[in-house]
């Protein structure tokens, strides 16, 4: 396959970036999208040019590090996969592929296609955990949890923090991410003691980071590589308003 790439090149956070066109020749349709970029980078290095900088780690769709905005969609044209799971057979010979970084005020560009997503870490630090020592492995079925609730909590827990929801959202809102992190604990007994403080702290941090406001367009749900559902956002809204209006829980210092 021979392709034309239009890639966002930006030296660092301070300098302005621009789109640069590169040819990608002799690409195997069986390559992953990241392997295709590796091939292009090898060519650039041989020519003595600066290779295209992009985030990647596990390359099997579980770490949430890869983050490419390909032809107007986060993680490319396929549903429920990450960029590293995207194969070149999803494109056609001679196609022009546009690759951009996530665009959000809260995700500043580090270099080229890599963005600083530590805003998500800070939201997690604000309360996305259970503050007790876990101890040893408990016996099976010691804490009874109905199967549908366990499944729902598990589905929410599959969020890999990649930020595709923010990238897809027209408002760069992080609500799908935050709602998944809220839900995975709010649904389970272990998450109950801190449930209402957690939601207030995490939403406060989310607002602090400069993400936009959710307008329930559903673009995030459509682009999430882990198919996190919009119902999580309803659960987050419900918990937040319950905490703020009906429970009067103070935010701990």
């Amino acid at each position: 396959m021979n392709l034309t790439l239009k890639v966002w090149r930006q030296k660092n956070a301070k300098t302005a970036g621009k789109m640069v066109t590169y040819p990608a020749n002799d690409i195997s349709p069986d390559m992953s999208f990241l392997e295709m970029l590796d091939v292009v980078n090898e060519g650039l290095i041989l020519k003595g040019e600066d290779p295209i900088y992009f985030d990647h780690d596990c390359r099997e769709g579980i770490c949430g590090t890869c983050s490419l905005y390909i032809n107007g969609r986060p993680h490319g044209p396929k549903q429920a996969i990450t960029s590293c799971q995207l194969h070149m057979r999803s494109f056609y010979d001679g196609q022009t592929i546009t690759i951009e970084p996530w665009r959000a005020a809260a995700f500043p560009v580090v270099k080229d296609l890599a963005t600083d997503r530590s805003a998500f870490d800070r939201i997690q630090h604000a309360g996305g955990y259970v503050s007790v020592n876990t101890g040893g492995v408990p016996d099976a079925n010691e804490i009874p949890i109905p199967k549908p609730i366990a499944d729902e909590a598990f589905n929410s827990a599959t969020c890999i923090q990649c930020g595709a929801c923010v990238a897809a959202c027209k408002n760069a809102s992080a609500m799908l991410f935050v709602s998944a992190k809220i839900s995975q604990l709010a649904l389970l007994p272990q998450g109950q003691p801190e449930r209402y403080q957690r939601v207030q702290n995490m939403v406060a941090q989310m607002d602090e980071e400069g993400f936009g406001n959710c307008t329930n367009t559903g673009a995030c749900e459509a682009e999430c590589p882990k198919s996190i559902k919009l119902t999580n956002i309803a659960r987050l809204n419900g918990d937040f308003l319950t905490a703020k209006i009906f429970k009067s829980e103070e935010i701990h210092a």
Partner: protein, 268 residues
């Protein structure tokens, strides 16, 4: 107190304000449509003009109407604040047009809302202001909204006569003429203004366009407001979605759009 200010200044709190004001406006749509259906009564506007007087002079309704105007303003201002915040959240736009699948109306609530705000301003100027200006500015130049006298037979309840009164000072009145066994109603003839406005094809066209905007605004807005309030029920949320589509995005906009169209073709 600081807790409550944090609630309403947070992103979800601002959305809650949008949601609650939006639902109040939805409720108003039902009242406004059901009341205005009296325009279709074949009684030379007696029921409609009587109803207009009631809606503008009954004190509890006056209070609610001013609450309604406030709600429209708050809904618009918060929409503006949220939109500005959302633009700030993405300072550098994508080079390529985003292709993530989402419903068109959900992405264009601001444009649809702006069309509706423009419509509300023109609509209120045309009917609400015209109706009130003779009372507010007693000595204004220019024509005043005429009054109409209706005579209804007390025995049969049928309308006997309806005649426009000559220009002059009148008050709303309803009394019985014992000799003639007739009930006499004198009311400001707002229906005449409706007939006049809906005789203009441009105006009718604008109304129909505005109601199309209302339809798309409701298509997203109604279910979205329940989502913002945290409604997440396996059985009832789908019902809310259907109400949003069929009642608020189909029946109500069509009901409103039919008024100018029918008046244009029958009363001109």
């Amino acid at each position: 107190m600081s807790g409550s200010t944090q609630t309403l200044s947070s992103s979800i709190g601002k959305k809650l304000i949008m949601s609650l004001t939006g639902l109040f406006l939805c409720l108003f749509l039902i009242v406004h449509l059901s009341g205005n259906f009296q325009l279709f009564k074949d009684d030379s506007g007696l029921a409609f003009n009587d109803y207009s007087h009631f809606m503008t002079h009954f004190p509890p309704i006056k209070v609610v109407s001013y609450l309604l105007y406030l709600t429209i303003i708050v809904h618009s201002i918060y929409a503006l604040i949220l939109t500005i915040n959302n633009r700030r959240a993405r300072p550098v736009n994508y080079v390529i047009q985003p292709k993530s699948p989402s419903i068109w109306s959900s992405r264009n609530m601001g444009i649809l809302g702006s069309v509706l705000l423009l419509f509300i301003v023109i609509h209120m100027g045309n009917f609400w202001f015209s109706y009130h200006k003779d009372e507010w500015f007693k000595n204004h130049e220019g024509p005043k909204m005429p009054f109409k006298e209706y005579r209804t037979d007390l025995k049969t309840g049928k309308l006997v006569s309806a005649k426009q009164l000559p220009q002059g000072e009148y008050e709303y009145a309803k009394y019985v003429d014992v000799n003639a066994q007739q009930e006499i109603t004198i009311a400001k003839d707002l229906q005449a203004q409706v007939i006049f406005s809906f005789s203009s094809p441009l105006y009718v066209f604008f109304y129909v366009i505005a109601m199309a905007a209302l339809s798309f605004h409701m298509l997203h807005g109604f279910q979205s407001s329940w989502q913002t309030m945290g409604m997440n029920h396996r059985k009832y949320k789908p019902i809310v979605n259907q109400i949003g589509i069929w009642l608020f995005a189909v029946i109500i906009p069509i009901g409103f759009a039919v008024m100018p169209i029918v008046y244009y073709f029958t009363k001109r």
